[in-house]
């Protein structure tokens, strides 16, 4: 397994290298060369030269290319125009955790919704339900996303008032707060991450257990433990709690909106994958064995139908990341996606390309995760030694 991951990482690194090179040559394709775009022309000349030297963008084109790419790998992304003299990496660094939070939850939510709905709809074939869920899902998938976001805001925030209209937090509320937004968010992220790790560890241990009942016990135990942990964590931080809730409150609507648009892809695929799987002989065998319907659907059919869904998840990720950029902009939620768009509009080239690079990294990492997951799920792929 480790060898597999290492090999994949190397492949990812290569792909990223390719990606950066393409970005570099795109920058070069514009009038003037990269050094004139990458360095803010409005700053004094001596400073320009300094930065140019540091970035190594003052040589031949091949020199520049090599320096540009290797700079990225060492974290040297240039200096932002708009937030001069903040280095790009710092500006992005601040935003990444937030975007990760958004993407992860939206992905999980859309996946759970999509898979569960797809599984159930395929099991109870035909009827009004299947038709309407399918059409509803597709309509959500193809709907014009910014427009849909606006509608969601109008409905849930403006009209019903359940959620705030935009932003990361409520400024007035935080006026004299003893914490910064980033601090609180960091704590939120930490608590959720630890809870998540508890669950994952629990699942791994549960998988190893011999007895069916032990497996179930450990699995349920890990869920309960993580919830208890979250409760305890936040119980202890009574002062921070209202601020944390404020941030959370602002995050719910963007996450749900993104998940709604993304789930249909998973649902449709799960449905067709299930339909294919249900035709298999081992399903008939399971019925013959007297396995209860819900177990046939979940343990036999869905488990196999899962495999192509996981593979196609890779495509879905690109969709979610793109959707995430739009979501952040519509909801004025200050993540990396919003950063990308804003930087582009104000022509802050280093910032925009840096953000783009990071989005590329995100996509590749997610791809790696999915690959590993697939490896775990499909024993036929797994067993070959030295993979």
């Amino acid at each position: 397994m480790l060898k597999f991951i290492a090999k994949r990482l190397a492949q990812m690194a290569f792909l990223f290298f390719l990606f950066l090179s393409i970005v570099f040559f795109l920058l070069q394709a514009q009038p003037g060369d990269i050094s004139s775009q990458f360095i803010n022309p409005t700053i004094p000349a001596e400073v320009q030269q300094q930065i140019l030297g540091r970035l190594g963008l003052d040589g031949s084109i091949w020199n520049q290319w090599w320096n540009y790419v290797s700079n990225f790998f060492t974290g040297n992304l240039g200096v932002s125009f708009s937030q001069f003299p903040e280095p790009v990496i710092d500006v992005i660094g601040e935003r990444i955790p937030r975007t990760l939070f958004l993407f992860t939850f939206a992905t999980l939510l859309s996946y759970i919704m999509g898979f569960t709905l797809g599984k159930r709809v395929a099991w109870k074939r035909g009827g009004f339900n299947e038709y309407s869920v399918t059409i509803g899902g597709v309509l959500l998938y193809t709907v014009f996303y910014p427009w849909f976001g606006i509608l969601m805001i109008l409905l849930f925030a403006s009209t019903l008032g359940w959620f705030p209209i935009s932003g990361f937090l409520t400024p007035e509320f935080w006026r004299n707060a003893p914490f910064t937004g980033n601090q609180v968010f960091g704590q939120l992220l930490l608590s959720v991450a630890i809870a998540g790790i508890i669950v994952v560890l629990g699942l791994i241990v549960a998988h190893r257990a011999q007895e069916r009942s032990t497996t179930r016990l450990v699995r349920r135990g890990s869920y309960i433990l993580s919830v208890l942990f979250l409760a305890g964590f936040w119980f202890l931080r009574s002062e921070m709690r209202p601020y944390a809730w404020d941030i959370l409150h602002h995050t719910i609507l963007p996450v749900v909106t993104l998940a709604l648009v993304a789930f249909a892809g998973t649902m449709l695929l799960t449905r067709s994958s299930m339909l294919e799987t249900l035709k298999e002989d081992y399903i008939l065998t399971a019925r013959a064995k007297g396995v209860p319907d819900s177990d046939i659907r979940d343990r036999h059919a869905a488990r196999n139908a899962l495999l192509p869904v996981v593979t196609s998840f890779i495509l879905g990720l690109a969709f979610i990341i793109g959707g995430g950029v739009v979501t952040e902009t519509i909801f004025s939620w200050p993540g990396m996606g919003a950063l990308l768009l804003n930087a582009t509009v104000i022509e802050d080239v280093p910032l925009a390309t840096g953000a783009l690079g990071f989005i590329g990294i995100l996509a590749l990492m997610a791809h790696l995760l999915v690959d590993v997951l697939y490896n775990v799920l499909d024993p036929r792929v797994r067993v070959q030694a030295g993979r």
């Binding site: 309509l139 014009f144 950029v325 783009l356």
Partner: protein, 377 residues
Amino acid sequence: MVIKDQESAELLEQDLESVPAVELHEGDALPESLWKVRWRLGWAAFKKNWKLFAENKIGLIGLFLILLFALMALAFPVFRAIGPWQNDAVYDPIIGYDAVVQELEVVPTEADVVDPATQINAANAQLWCFGSLPGDTCEIPRAPAPPNSDHWLGTDPLGRDVASQLTYSTRAAFFLGAVAAIVTVVVATTVGSMAAFYGGWLDNFLMRLADLVLLMPLIPILIVVSGMFTVTMPMLGIMIGILSGFGGTAIVLKSQALSVKVKPFIDAARVSGGSNVHLILKHVIPNVLPLSFLYMMFTVTEAVSLEATLSFFGLIEAPMTWGIMLSTAQTQGYLRSGLEFWWLLIPAGLAVSLLAAGFFFAGRAMDEVINPRLRAQ
């Protein structure tokens, strides 16, 4: 003629039976011209495919939506030339201006305004009707104006007729979709065929590239690119086409090309001296075309959505598209107040969504017609 499966083979048999058997000698002309035979076979295959397609309601809905929009696209030049918008500069989607006038009664002070739809206080009235006094009627141009008999969908914040904007943008959308789709198919077929036929390092490289393209989210890339360059509609179409073409579609078409490559008639063609290029053009492409056509549908869906999103953020250089319509309304704040300015909010967004949905539905229905047979092979 592509024989895809048992059913087509039977159809072929049936049709051939209707051709009278004749003894042919060298140098004879065929009893029935070849193109007629091809036409008849093609038509029979089409009818059969249509039946399969129509069984699925979803496909019909998709087709209906596409036709609806096609009509809308036609509506624009027709209405401009011979219809209600004939020669009326007011109805120009980009530079037209029609101040829909509202008559309001002038009242002394703010406190006296009981119904803002029909009354205005004297101070504000001075802006439009200088020198008016309480009791006078002041005509105030309203933009955006709600739908009325002249403007079926009202006017936008700049006084332009929304309906004409909507229909004009339909043409832009179809145009973009067509460009993107064609470029995708050309690129994907070329890449797929080359990878299949030449194999080796070219195959490897192209597939790595395809992996990369698949992974990368299109929107951020297009955002940055449109920031760096001025992107017009044709350019956008080509870019989307290339990016999609190198991705998943290329992979699918490559495996399709591979399955053609191993067929015996390819060996036969090679033996009689066909070069790779000739083989690709004459044999692979016709076999791969139905699948390509299918992917064109999904490319149009994607292109329409992408373009609308990009122009919503003001990144596209185009005279008028649905995205721009929404963008104008949004930046001037008319979308914040709920459904009050619904004619600015609903039609454009609905148009994008429905056209994209239409192509998607049609694509999925086509998928069921074309793909199962491919899987059976």
